[in-house]
């Protein structure tokens, strides 16, 4: 199977360990990724903070490129990107006038539809049974807190994925890998997202609470499917510890890390050794 792929800036930048992980894990499951040619940034928080039209045009350009490349389905492993793409798609479908206008702005046709998938949806597409059958090393040492954050499920009218108040799709994947998961309370609370640099205090506070809650419910790691969540919980973990004078030392995995591990891939192959919190 081959599907279209929109990496987004983070996966080609400081979260390239996520891309390594996604590619390796999906390759092991027989899924190839074909990157959209000459994709551009989705605009992220900056675009919708500054200009509404731009916040539709940038993702729309990428949707148009995907259609041009003939992708019916598109994996966007970053939930920010996938939410922006879905939101643009939703606005364009709802308003033909807007569609015409934006098509002119982005200089490409917008009539073909592309289904945008997150990483979990790709695993569901492969089939959880399939994944279970491929498991070589069951993860019985893992007790994970599955952390969904915001944009995997919110706003529900746009995302139409899982139950936004009590999501459980990541747990379902982990169950097939032989990992344990904990019931905890910060699954869908925000980590501070892209404000890491601009408003560090907020990010540290929110991320600290998430790590505290995961640990207090007995998790030995946190699983994410978002590059920003990973930055805030992993890269900034030392800053969190300094700010709140605590020692967390909790590993933050991407969901694909755990699937890859169970399939028998090495830490290096998955880029796990490039995490900030890493005990080899």
């Amino acid at each position: 199977m081959e599907i279209g792929y929109y990496p987004g800036c983070a996966l080609h930048g400081s979260s390239n360990d996520y891309e390594t992980s996604v590619r390796a894990c999906l390759a092991a499951l027989g899924v190839g990724l074909r990157e959209i040619d000459d994709w551009i940034c989705c605009g992220a928080t900056a675009a919708h903070s500054i200009n509404h039209k731009l916040s539709i045009a940038l993702p729309a350009r990428n949707l148009a490129l995907a259609a041009r490349d003939g992708f019916g389905e598109l994996l966007a492993p970053c939930p920010m990107c996938s939410m922006e793409l879905l939101k643009a798609e939703q606005s364009l479908r709802a308003d033909p006038e807007l569609r015409k206008d934006i098509a002119q702005i982005v200089e490409l046709g917008l009539d073909r539809k592309t289904a945008v998938l997150n990483l979990i949806q790709v695993f569901q597409k492969i089939g959880l049974d399939q994944i279970k059958d491929a498991v070589k090393r069951p993860l019985d040492h893992i007790t994970a807190a599955c952390y969904y954050g915001c944009l995997l499920t919110r706003p529900p009218e746009t995302l139409r994925f899982d139950d936004c108040e009590r999501p459980s799709t990541m747990e379902a994947v982990l169950a097939e890998l032989g990992a344990k998961t904990v019931a905890w309370n910060y699954k869908t609370e925000c980590c501070g997202a892209g404000l890491t640099m601009a408003n560090e205090a907020t990010v540290l506070e929110l991320s600290h609470k998430i790590l505290m809650n995961a640990a207090s419910h007995g998790a030995n790691c946190v699983v994410v499917a978002c590059p920003m969540c990973h930055v805030n919980l992993d890269m900034k973990q030392r800053d969190i510890e300094r700010r709140y004078s605590v020692r967390h030392g909790i590993t933050i995995y991407y969901l694909s890390d755990l699937v890859g591990m169970a399939l028998g891939l090495s830490d290096a192959a998955l880029g796990i050794d490039r995490h900030f919190v890493y005990r080899g």
Partner: protein, 187 residues
Amino acid sequence: MSLQLAEDRRDLIPPGLNLAGCYQCGKCTAGCPVASRMDRTPNQVVRLLQLGRMEKAISSGAFWECVSCQTCTTRCPKSVDCAGAMDFLRQLSVERAASAPSAHRTVLFQKTFLRNIRRNGRLDELELVRTFKTATFLKDLDIPFLFKDASLAPRMMRRGKLKLRAEQARDRGVLDRIFERCLEAKL
């Protein structure tokens, strides 16, 4: 505050936000992860918008504290797009160059971010850090902030997470044109 209605700019508000529906239950505030950091709570911000009091609304720093987590919009019993209202205010305050002083760093960051992708098509993180820090420093001369996170760079570099030369989109002409067509004012 005088009670005259001189300032009523409800006409500026996109109807899709459905702000007229708000009955001030405060569920947005209740679920907001950063409400306690805001000078006005989300429901108060929506209230000012309902009255069309844009000046007062954009003078608040609240919407720059907003982390766009969408919890307010998701749980609103009246389907008011509260997170969308925050976006709207950010856009308006940038357009009018009237953001609250407390928010200048966040505003600067978002602007720098956009300029960055306008130039490169994809985010050049190193350039973002460099330009953002410089611009902030020139504005507030905050030396600790300038060097904050400096220690992160070598650690990121060691992990291959920071590229000195970031990749760029090929067709950058179209990017410039997209920005040109969307933005009315200069960034």
